[in-house]
Amino acid sequence: MDLRLALEIVSLTDPGKVRSQNEDSITTDNQAGFAILADGMGGYNAGEVASGITVTLLADGLKKALHARPPEQDQCLLVKSEIEKTNGAIYQTAQSQPQFSGMGTTLVCALFHDNRVIVAHVGDSRLYRYRQKGIEHAQFEQITRDHSLLQEQIDSGMLSREEALLSSNKNLVTRALGVDPMVNVEVQEHDALPGDIYLLCSDGLNDMVDDEKILLTLSVLGTNIKLAAQQLVQMANDNGGRDNVSVILVRVLRHFPARRGFFAWLSAWLKK
């Protein structure tokens, strides 16, 4: 189905102030209703290759699967299996071409379907949700939990949150695409409401700009998300821009219930 009337999507990626290459890759499709962001790693330009392959293959795979899918198939499984396929392809490339050996990438992907959002991620790229609660009040939540050494240390109680802020190995990821033949993808499903703004970002944003400033930006500029995306990237660069920074903002404009299949419609009609 076509979600162009239900979703407004903007995206922006920038190499930052320090690095010459941009190893982040992003793609969005507001007709099929998905957004994908990958932050590549590996020497020379292998990081770019890994993240580039990931977003291209996954976008193609999702489009085909959404088109062909039998109506009742679980969307979570669909996303998961498409990511696993993509992982296999990058792993093969890394194995067969010595210049790409050891490359990998993080991934965060949001698929909007039937008034819900399916969020899948691997590594430390994040998805946040901004949700208006009443007129004055808004809720801003990090939906994904990083697959990083630091997060595991916090979870296991070895580090407190204060210590974590001091830690110097913020960027060691414990899961990535393309480094093993199998990948453990975390998939979640949430209700999506009109007015929600979803932010997908690479660690170049959340390492440089604290959550409070991101929230302020979304609450002030939520009506103009193109400007909000520019502002977020600009803040990361103003604070030093030590890494590539990428943001995708998705604003839900209205409800988007799935069109039911013919049989679903028929059975509903017969029950009347």
Binding site: R19, G42, L149, E163, N169, T174, V179, K213, L216, V220
Partner: protein
Amino acid sequence: MAKLIITLDGLLLSEFEIDKERITIGRNPHNNIPIDNLAISGEHAAITTVNNEFFVEDLGSTNGTLVNEQPITKHALHHGDEIEIGKYRLKYVNVQELGSKIEAHETGAQVFEKPPFLHPNQIPTMLSGEIPTSDMMAHTIPLIMPEEAQRAETARRAKIATETDLPPSEAMESHGVVQILNGPNASKELALTKTLTSLGKPGVQVAVITRRPHGYFLTHVQGDHYPTVNGQDLDAHPRQLEDHDVIELAGVKMEFYLK
């Protein structure tokens, strides 16, 4: 290998190798580093090691713990840091951190431009607190250390940078103010202390003033009409505000100035 060099009034007393996950310093004899001096509390401070990172922590001592002359409760140690307890000074020396820093500096090129991937198989061993085998150390340390040391260095530099020049709220010695010139709210002032301040009526015309390290910028956000600055229409691009610029939007005139 990390160690502490303990001195008093510039005289070398001893050296202590940090070979445990946690070592304690204090007046009581059961401490790993006992220092019999009345200025030092029974349990004064502790040094903990988490994955090759060292932290010093004050254990609620009476006279406190300083690192590089700053009082701390908890501090991530870097090569060359000087811990001060009473009149005793403990210099933190980490040969690996120093060595890899030199190495990273000399070779210039980094194998990993991005965060290095830590293989999941390595983590359970490191997290469970088991002593890593020398074989494993050989695998993990060269992978992590140069990057880690470099990161620590950039993080420290960034910290110094933000402390000395940036933090938008304190360091910019003047801050912007917008004063309303007409209408019922005339002469009211709005201090621009936040990163973003929105002006106007939601749904009709909204503009935002962003505060950046090098000044204030006015940007159109919403509405069919664009705000004007000194009678000139704004376009879609942000415009840097000068002292005493007059902004007009949604029929309200206001003056921007630096305080």
